[in-house]
Point group: C2
Chain length 176, copies 2
DNA sequence: AGCTAAATGTTTAGGTCTAAACGTGAGGAT
DNA sequence: ATCCTCACGTTTAGACCTAAACATTTAGCT
């Protein structure tokens, strides 16, 4: 019984092996979350890395794509405040500020002061054009990546994920 | 019909709404991956953010925890090469090198040259003690976060995720 | 022996994020 | 009127990553 795996093999350590290793090394370790959390993180990383590679060819980074996407999806006149952007993208207001600064210097968005100390971020024609030619490529690629799922298992998985997301969101939202 | 959501509401934009918005704005956009990929990313981010907060109290960062965990799980004598670490953690060799440098200056691991130009990373007693007192807290917290799942739905979800992970890994592994 | 190709770890440049400190407006209380 | 507190966006420090260039060793070939 060997302990080595081929180094180039995909997903060399299934979650079950990780849990087993903890039990062997530290009997009683609470490992029951591993079979959910580990594949979840690995999938998210694979999708993120793949998206970064797709976008590299288009000269746009994932954070900027996310920003422009939210503005584009909001519909005309394609503008939202910093705070609304933060809420829709799950990053902090500070991160949005930095994203906007980058996108602004690439002429993809503009900043406009608004009442109540808010700042409106608006998509420029250049930004609009960029998102139009990027979004289909990204989504088509991701659609291909999950094409192994049957319609039934896809619907099942989507429901399960959304349900867990609601629950975890609720549990983590009132954090210190 | 208003378009505003309460900004402090959890998960303000379900994946289904995002897909709907794209269809409204750009009919024909290939949105079928969104219901899977979006909740996946959001869950991964919630777990990552939560883990970071748990670890902040213990004075350890997530990347270092990951490094020490892999070494600890490997069993005595708690040493692996850089390349093995990279394979087990899904980050690049460069990232491992940086993690090791950080952990080394905190006296948590040591570097030892090994045959074949390899470098063995070994857990120090300090590193061993740190991982022992961290791992249970992290895993217990994550177990609580998924406690809403029934045993059946948990098993179902774990299987579905692992299966999708195998598939996506295979599709993305021979990338340029 | 000498050369070349592959493998391994490190460094560097650049992007990205969070948390916390900060500056500043706006509204309410007195 | 004045103060106080909250809300909002920005800035900064520090963590973290990838991709690519780099340096060095090993192994195979001639």
């Amino acid at each position: 019984m060997t302990d080595t795996y081929p180094l180039d093999s995909p997903s060399p350590y299934p979650a079950a092996d990780i849990a087993r290793a903890w039990q062997r090394e530290r009997p009683g370790t609470p490992t029951d979350s591993i079979e959910i959390v580990t594949p979840l993180w690995r999938l998210a990383k694979l999708f993120a890395d793949d998206r970064r590679r797709v976008l590299a060819d288009l000269n746009i980074d994932p954070a900027t794509l996310d920003l422009l996407s939210v503005l584009r999806r909001a519909g005309a006149p394609y503008q939202l405040t910093t705070r609304e952007l933060a809420a829709r993208t799950l990053v902090t207001a500070g991160a949005i500020s930095q994203r906007v600064t980058r996108a602004e210097s690439a002429n993809l968005v503009t900043r406009t002061p608004a009442p109540h100390r808010a700042v409106l971020i608006t998509l420029t024609p250049t930004g609009h054009a960029l998102i139009e030619r990027s979004v289909d490529q990204v989504l088509t690629r991701e659609s291909a990546l999950i094409s192994s799922l049957t319609p039934e298992s896809r619907a099942h998985l989507a429901t399960a994920l959304q349900s867990l997301l609601n629950d975890v969101t609720h549990q983590t939202s009132n954090q210190p």
